[in-house]
């Protein structure tokens, strides 16, 4: 569907007759929902934060291992690395 096709179908104000009919059908089919939050969610958020401590991803460990190996076999690179820090 393109904007041009949409206008061709009379949807200039964002709503055709067809859309209005479907809208009414949907409103009758879906009961209204209460949008008020029933309880404070902070305790649940906090326990979720505690339950999932930030983990170091595996590729970070791999990078650390690789860097350590390089520095072990080529210690002169430590100076080059330090220079670029």
């Amino acid at each position: 569907m393109t904007e041009h096709e949409m206008v061709e179908h009379g949807m200039t104000d964002g709503m055709t007759d067809e859309a209005r009919q479907i809208r009414e059908a949907l409103r009758q089919s879906f009961p209204p929902v209460n949008t008020e939050l029933r309880r404070d969610l902070w305790p649940a958020v906090l326990s979720k934060l505690d339950a999932r401590p930030a983990r170091v991803p595996w590729y970070d460990w791999a990078l650390i291992g690789l860097s350590a190996s390089v520095f072990l076999f080529f210690p002169q690179l430590i100076l080059v690395f330090a220079y670029h820090l």
């Binding site: 055709t16 009758q28 089919s29 879906f30 902070w42």
Partner: protein
Amino acid sequence: MDLFRRFALGEIDAFETLVRQFQGEVYAWIVRIVRDPGIAEDLTVETLWRIYRARHQFRPDGNFGAWARRIATNMALDYLRRKRPEQSLLTEPAGAPQPDQLLQRETREKIQQAFRRLPAKLQAAATLALVEEQPYDEIADALGTSVGAVKLRVFRAVRILRKQLNRLGVRP
């Protein structure tokens, strides 16, 4: 230092203040899309957790509410994609239904089923625009797209629904 900057730096007190300030708004947005208070509460907790995890991506001079709503929308869309279309959201009245009530219930169920078969993005756009009457610019911002794209999604949703309902013999 302001609240948003402290949050971006990972201060838990600042995050708590933001949660208490925005949890109602996030929940209201999610429940409008998923239409189930229990599911919406779970998704709100997950959204707030993800917001904290993504704090480095937040620009302290940006709009926190809009950013939170975008993350909430993604959570709700993920839920709609996972959910089985057959799951009914009707709340039935107590007592034995009358014949015309049975017919109405059947029609409502068919409309709900047809709606739940729509792609998640079309469902979200159509629910927010047609049922909840949310402003198009807010929907577009939450879906990370343009107002024109939201209108097209609503238009496509209406078209598909019309075809499916015709096939099911339902005249809205």
